[in-house]
């Protein structure tokens, strides 16, 4: 069967090279195609004999034509489900036919990987899909709580809940909302707690560099969050969860579909008291905060045209107390901060025929933060920070289907970004243009190749060419091998370019690369510079960080109910940007700027094993081995130039076996999940054990690298349980908990310990219908 297809979501009879079976005469009652939970599958189709195809109607039903031979073979297909073969004799006695979902979300459509719709199992690169059901099962409220349960993903607390993928930190992971990039990072971290999960339909996790289609930031991978789109004529529901630490999540949704119009509205309110892991220190570990998320999606189809307008807003307020130490005396200060995020995303799609598709889209975003720290005693303003980022992108994408085996995608876009912040001078503007080309090709039934290249032209860091090639070979029906080789890059961020910071008390300066020339001249004119440490010709020439990566692995479907997947990855990153001193000042302190200095290599293996024991019980296990090293540190160790101190402060030479790699990376991590679903009673149970192996939290012995047992935080396993019951009228009640064994680790400030929750979901439209 053909795998490349522009209009994956539509009925695809033409692709099969078949013609529609016209007017059918009825031989029996309609037969309904259902999933295991008993819901009709309206996108199923039935193939009778070699060349007759019957679609099912909106209720998932079809009529079997008469005059069929009793042992005629019938095949039932539906995207996302294993195909089923049955004889007419058997089927005519049934009123419904159940299909089994493809294991491991293999049948899901993935958009992020190629920017076209393709089934997960046909993608020659490592991709996973987190389904609506899996999101529901976690019982989580914010995106971090869903992603941390996935193999190979870690959530690390660093200026917010940041994701770590393939050993690379949040800075190098692109986050998309319905295919469009989300902005707003603090110290490089995209805070996953900004995203509420109740309106998420599915999450696509794409591993490995994807700069060949997305440009900057897509170095470790891409997370694409796809929000719900209801197909019901009318739907409205209310959903709420309440849990420990006075944490409350309330969501309301309403949608409407008629005459090719669709409207979808979503509102979410979240609040928490936060928690405190260290009561001896004033202030909370996690500050109390409230957040509101709103989303409105409008859509209209009109013949060959489709219009969409998506908009989203987010607002968050938090308060905390901190202690400011001055001359050995601690004084309390109040800190309040606010975050706002607004975006607007219109899209127009034109499909003149099945061979062409044109998409014009844009994304306009605003991200703002304000924070204020005031002394409690006298209201003295210790610190006031404002940050405002505006982002606008316009993109045109052209898809051209060439025969049944090739799909060509051409994209071009323009990007405009401005930033205005307390620590940056004036308003700063960046412009960029880009062009990408992608070719998806199935040369034979067994081969599947995707090649792509993207060129970026940026006002700041010049031009970049990012190629990528991925291929998959289907050794048998059950086993396929894939490999992809790609380049990634990350443009210098605002702070690295624009920071203008002077730590008055310590007497040092930090200049962004754009300001270093100006800064050094100013310091020189003030007579503060004692010696330049670097050649001034190096100043200001900050290049993008870049990587070359390989991902290779297999999908092994031992049976319809047993799937084993593996992926080996290696990311080689050059030109990593770090601060380095460029001038020594007369005060004895240094002036710093940002330079391309470091090299890092991360490599490892991800393994996933999914086993459906019965239609009700599924067990899955995941494991990741990770090795992440600073190559310059390795070089120093090899040349015998790296030392450490023992507990008596004596100096010893560091050897390779002492070196533990980059901080905050667990060499071993994994998960075990058991899911029990009973379609008839609506009872669902999900038990998960999420293990994070020991990891380095910071330097203790003075050499700034990870090389001592005392520098590791211990491993921990979080046992999470969710229980839910769905009633026939659609009402769902749930309860459960995270970290049931209450394991705490002071180096994981995002883990509050045992958390219990209850929740309910009320779908009003179903209640009305069932009366």
């Amino acid at each position: 069967m053909c795998r490349i297809n522009l209009n994956k979501n539509r009925f695809t009879y033409w692709l099969l090279g078949c013609f529609l079976f016209p007017l059918l005469s009825h031989a029996s009652d309609p037969i309904c195609i259902r999933d295991q939970a008993g819901n009709p599958i309206p996108h199923a189709y039935v193939k009778i004999g070699p060349d007759k195809v019957v679609p099912v109607d909106r209720t998932g039903s079809f009529d079997l034509p008469d005059n069929l031979e009793a042992d005629q073979l019938i095949e039932v297909f539906a995207m996302g489900f294993d195909a089923r073969q049955i004889r007419v004799r058997e089927i005519s006695e049934l009123s419904s036919l159940r299909l089994t979902e493809k294991i491991g979300q293999m049948g899901e459509v993935v958009v992020a990987a190629t920017r076209t719709d393709r089934s997960l199992e046909d993608l020659p690169m490592p991709v996973t899909v987190i389904s609506r059901e899996q999101i529901q099962e976690t019982g989580g409220m914010r995106l971090s709580e869903v992603l941390r349960e996935q193999t190979g993903l870690q959530v690390v607390s660093d200026h917010g809940a940041g994701l770590q993928m393939q050993g690379l930190s949040s800075d190098y992971i692109l986050i998309l909302l319905d295919g469009e990039p989300l902005i707003g990072r603090t110290a490089g971290t995209f805070d996953l707690d900004r995203i509420s999960v109740t309106n998420i339909e599915r999450i696509e996790v794409l591993r490995g560099p994807s700069s060949a289609i997305y440009g900057s930031e897509a170095m470790a991978g891409v997370i694409n969050i796809i929000t719900k789109s209801s197909r019901e004529p009318f739907a409205a529901s209310l959903e709420s969860r309440y849990r420990s630490f006075s944490t409350m999540d309330l969501s309301g949704e309403a949608s409407f579909n008629q005459n090719d119009w669709s409207v979808q509205a979503y509102l979410n309110r979240f609040r928490t008291d936060g928690f405190d892991l260290n009561p001896n220190v004033p202030g909370n570990t996690q500050a109390p905060f409230q957040a509101t998320t709103g989303q409105v999606k409008l859509g209209k189809k009109s013949g060959k045209w489709e219009f969409r307008l998506y908009s989203r807003m987010y607002r968050e307020d938090s308060d905390n107390v901190l202690q400011v130490i001055e001359n050995g005396k601690g004084r309390l200060a109040d800190m309040s901060s606010e975050r706002r995020d607004v975006n607007l995303n219109p899209t127009v799609t034109y499909r003149p025929n099945e061979h062409w598709q044109l998409t014009l889209r844009s994304m306009t975003s605003l991200f703002e933060t304000h924070s204020l720290t005031e002394m409690q005693e006298d209201g003295f303003v210790v610190d006031a920070q404002d940050f405002q980022q505006r982002y606008h992108r316009t993109e045109l994408q052209l898809d051209r289907q060439l025969g049944n085996s090739q799909l060509l995608t051409l994209g071009m876009g323009h990007l405009l970004e401005t930033v205005d912040a307390t620590r940056y001078e004036a308003l700063n503007r960046f412009d960029a243009g880009y062009l990408f080309l992608q070719h998806q090709w199935d040369p034979t039934d067994k081969w599947n190749i995707v090649t792509g290249v993207r060129g970026d032209l940026h006002s700041q860091y010049g031009e970049r060419i990012s190629p990528k090639i991925s291929g998959m070979y289907q050794i048998s029906e059950k086993f396929s091998w894939q490999a992809s080789l790609g380049a990634g890059f990350k443009a210098p961020d605002f702070r690295q370019l624009l920071l203008n910071f002077n730590n008055a008390s310590a007497g040092y300066y930090v200049f962004g690369a754009n300001l270093v020339q100006e800064g050094i001249e100013r310091l020189q004119s003030q007579g503060l510079v004692q010696q330049l440490l670097l050649d001034p010709s190096q100043f200001g020439a900050l290049k993008a960080e870049s990587s070359l990566a390989i991902n290779t692995g297999f999908r092994w479907k031992l049976s319809n109910d047993l799937l084993f997947q593996g992926n080996f990855f290696q990311n080689n990153i050059f030109n990593l940007i770090e601060t380095a001193p460029f001038a020594r000042l007369t005060s004895g302190q240094n002036a710093f700027s940002y330079f391309n200095v470091s090299r890092v290599r991360t490599q490892g293996i991800e393994l996933d094993w999914t086993w459906r024991l019965t239609s009700k019980l599924q067990v899955s296990a995941g494991y990741m081995y990770l090795d992440a090293n600073d190559l310059d540190v390795l070089e120093q160790i090899d040349s015998g130039a790296l030392f450490r101190r023992d507990s008596e402060n004596r100096t010893q030479r560091v050897s390779r076996s002492d070196y533990g790699g980059l901080f905050n990376r667990s060499r071993h991590s994994g998960n075990l999940k058991i899911s029990y679903q009973e379609p008839l009673s609506g009872i669902n149970l999900a038990l998960r054990a999420i293990h994070r192996g020991k990891f380095g939290f910071g330097d203790v012995n003075g050499n700034l690298i990870l090389d001592d047992p005392s520098e590791y935080a211990r491993a921990m396993t979080s046992w999470n349980l969710s229980l839910s019951k769905a009633f026939s009228n659609g009402v769902l009640l749930e309860t459960g908990g995270f970290n049931l064994l209450n394991q705490l680790n002071q180096y994981e400030p995002s883990n509050p310990g045992r958390t219990l929750f209850v929740g309910a979901k009320v779908p009003f439209h179903q209640l009305v219908n069932s009366k």
Binding site: I325, A504, N590, A641, T651
Partner: protein
């Protein structure tokens, strides 16, 4: 006040001098001893944290390696001076003497001679002989923990006022030489230097 301590480090020159030849007669060697100085308190200048202005300038604390004792005045016969994280030698812009220093990489024990590559400098307009700033000279500043730690493997070679060579290693910046894991930069008193040094009184470059 400061307390002084002699420390038997037992560096045997014998072990370093090769004696493969059958007929060589071992010359009587003097066993050089490393000296450990504990808790040399050398507070830095007082500063207004909000403006960065220095409100009280404090003096350097001067130390003679030759005599293993503090020296009261800048004009005296001292070799090395301490204030905050800044280390000076008695020459050039810092003092009337001729002391010089060079920063080399290695462990204290394995540095048996002054390497020919060692670049001895006086303090001067173009910087101090022992460079200041994190990572440049003798210490690292960890910006996440705020701990000042002597860089492991950095050895200071000092030519004293009298012209003898000494090797020196800073062990701690905090009172009573605690293991770094026990240092809380907010509460552990600093700067209290603990360092060890070994001086070759015969003017040669071997230790």
């Amino acid at each position: 006040m400061n307390k002084w301590n002699m420390f038997q480090a037992g560096i045997l020159l014998l072990a370093l001098s090769t004696s493969c030849e059958e007929n060589t007669v071992d010359e009587p060697e003097i066993e050089l001893q490393a000296v450990t100085v504990e808790n040399l308190h050398a507070p830095g200048d007082l500063m207004d944290r909000s403006t960065g202005e220095i409100t009280e300038v404090r003096p350097f604390r001067y130390f003679s390696l030759e005599d293993n004792k503090m020296v009261e005045s800048r004009e005296g016969d001292w070799d090395i001076g301490f204030k905050g994280t800044t280390l000076i030698v008695n020459s050039g812009s810092s003092g009337p003497g001729t002391a010089q220093a060079s920063v080399v990489t290695g462990t204290f024990d394995e540095i048996s001679t002054v390497p020919s590559a060692a670049d001895f400098k006086s303090d001067g307009e173009n910087g101090l002989a022992i460079p200041t700033g994190s990572g440049n000279g003798w210490y690292n500043y960890n910006p996440s923990s705020h701990i000042i730690s002597p860089i492991p493997g950095r050895v200071l070679l000092i030519q004293t006022n009298e012209g003898n060579y000494a090797k020196m290693e800073i062990l701690s910046y905090y009172q009573d030489n605690p293991p770094l894991a026990e240092v809380d930069p907010m509460t552990t008193p600093s700067p209290y230097f603990t360092f060890r040094y070994l001086i070759q009184p015969n003017g040669t470059i071997t230790f």
